[in-house]
C-alpha cells in the first residue's frame, strides 16, 4: 500500500499540490482524474521519486520514500514501472532496444530471450513488426504503446500510467483498458493511472480520486463517484464547459 500524506509542492510562486492525501491499495487499480494542469503528473512524479515535495510524506509498505537514500530507493524502483505522458522513449535505440532495456539492465536473460519477451509484450499492446524501427518513425499513439510495453516488461508490482489512452483511437483505447485489466488480474499488480478518459476510468478503476486545486476532493468506487452529487465532479464526469469550474 502507498500512503500519500499532506503532500505539498510549489514551483516558484505557483502552488501545485496543496496537501494531497491519498491511500493507494495494494493489488488494486486507482485512477486519478482531474483537469489539465492540475498537477496529476507532478503527483505521480513524487511517488516515483523524480520530484521531492516541499512538505508531506509518501509511505510505501513501511518505508518513507520521500526520505530515502538513493541506493535503497533504487531497490524500490526495481519494483516499479512507469509510463510517461510523453512516452519518453530513448531515441538512440530501436523499439526493441527500448522495451528490452530494463531486462538488459536488471536480468541475466540473453539477447534471444529478451527479444522473445519484447515481441510478446509488443504484441500485447497491438504492435507487430516494429522491433527494428526507431521511435522517430512511430506515430504518437504507437510511441505511447511502446512506452506501455516498456513499463510492464519486467512485470513490476506497481505501475504508474500517465494517460495511457491519450492519442489512441477508441478501439485501441478499449484494448489498452483490457490489457490493463488482464495484466492486473493475472499478477495482482498495483496500478496507478492518470486519465481524462472517462470510459477507461469507469471500466478499470477499483477506486477513483479527483485532484482539484491541489487536493483530492472526492474519492470512491466508480459507482460511488457516478452517484456523487459534488457539482465539480459532476461537471468533470459529464464534460460540460459550464458549471462551477470556469474555463477561461
Amino acid at each position: 500500500m502507498i500512503k500519500i500524506i499532506d503532500l505539498k509542492k510549489s514551483f516558484g510562486a505557483k502552488k501545485v499540490l496543496d496537501g494531497v492525501n491519498l491511500e493507494i491499495e495494494k493489488g488494486k487499480i486507482t485512477v486519478i482524474i482531474g483537469r489539465s494542469g492540475e498537477g496529476k503528473s507532478v503527483l505521480i512524479k513524487h511517488i516515483i521519486g523524480l520530484l521531492r515535495p516541499d512538505s508531506g510524506k509518501i509511505i510505501f509498505e513501511d518505508m518513507e520514500l520521500t526520505a530515502m537514500k538513493e541506493r535503497d530507493f533504487n531497490e524500490v524502483l526495481k519494483r516499479f514501472g512507469m509510463l510517461f505522458q510523453s512516452a519518453a522513449l530513448f531515441d538512440s535505440m530501436t523499439v526493441a532496444g527500448n522495451v528490452g532495456f530494463p531486462l538488459k539492465e536488471h536480468t541475466d536473460l540473453n539477447d534471444e530471450d529478451i527479444l522473445k519477451t519484447v515481441k510478446e509484450k509488443l504484441r500485447r499492446v497491438g504492435l507487430v513488426d516494429v522491433e527494428d524501427m526507431t521511435p522517430a518513425e512511430l506515430s504518437g499513439g504507437m510511441k505511447k504503446r511502446v512506452g506501455l510495453a516498456r513499463a510492464i516488461v519486467m512485470d513490476p508490482e506497481i505501475v504508474l500510467f500517465d494517460e495511457p489512452t491519450t492519442g489512441q483511437d477508441p478501439i485501441m483505447s478499449d484494448s489498452v483498458a483490457d490489457l490493463i485489466l488482464e495484466t492486473q488480474r493475472a499478477l495482482k499488480t498495483t496500478y496507478i493511472i492518470i486519465s481524462h478518459d472517462i470510459a477507461l476510468t469507469l471500466k478499470v478503476a477499483d477506486k477513483v480520486a479527483m485532484l482539484h486545486e491541489g487536493r483530492i476532493i472526492e474519492e470512491g468506487t466508480p459507482e460511488e463517484m457516478r452517484r456523487n452529487p459534488n457539482p465539480i465532479l459532476r461537471q468533470f464526469l459529464e464534460g460540460r464547459a459550464s458549471g462551477p469550474i470556469k474555463v477561461y
Partner: protein, 256 residues
Amino acid sequence: MKAYLESIGRSAEAFVATVGSMALMFFQAVMYAFVPPIKFRNIFKQMEFVGVQSLFVVILTGTFTGMVLALQSYNALKRFGAESLVGPSVALSMARELGPVLSGLMVTGRAGSAMATELGTMRVTEQIDALFTMAVNPVKHLVVPRIIAGVCMFPVLTVIADFVGVIGGYMVGVKLLGINAGVYIGRTVDFVQVSDITTGLTKSLVFGLITSLVACYYGYYTMGGAEGVGKSATSSVVLASVLILVSDYLLSSLMS
C-alpha cells in the same frame, strides 16, 4: 555602482556554484566508473564518436598547422641562417602546444557540443527521468562513458595531430622550401625529447576531461525545451574552450 558590484557578486556566486556542481558530477562519475557492471558498449560507442569521427577535422587542422608553422619559422630562421632548425621548431610547437590545443578546441566544437545537445535533448524529453525510474543511474549510464571517451581519445587524437603536423611541416620545409631532408629529420630527432611529447599528451588528457565534463554538465542540467538545449550546447563550447586555454597556460608553466 552598488548595483554593478552586486551583479558582479551574483555572477561570481553563480560561477562558484557551477564549478561546485561540476566537481560533484565529476566525483560521482569517478565513483560510478568503478562500480560494476561497467558499460563497455556505451564506452566504445562514445570512443568511436569522439575519436574516430573526429579524425578528419583533426588531420585537416594538424596538417595545415604544421605547414604554416614550417613556412613561418622558415621566414624567421632564415634571417639567422638557421633554416636547419625549421624541423625541430615545427615538431616542438606541435607536440607541446598546438597539437593538444588545436585538436582539443576542434573536438570541443564538434563532439562537446554534440554531447551537450544529446544529453540536453534527453533531459527535456524526460529520457533521463525514464532512466532513473528504471533504476538505472543516469550519471553512470550517460556521463561516465562520455568522460572516459574524452580522457582516452583526446591524447590519441593529439598524437595523430602531432604526426600529420610534422609531415605537413616536412612537405613544406623539404619539398617546397628546399631544406635538406636528412638535416630536417636529423635535427628534429636531435631536439625533440620524449618529455615534449608527454607534456602535450598530459595537456590533452586534461582537455579531454574538461570538454566531456563541461558538455555533460550543461547537457545534463538543461532546462527549457529546444531553446534550453541550444543554450546548453553554446555555453558548454564557450566554457570548455576558455578552460582549455586557461589550463593550457597553467599546465605549460607547471611542466616547463
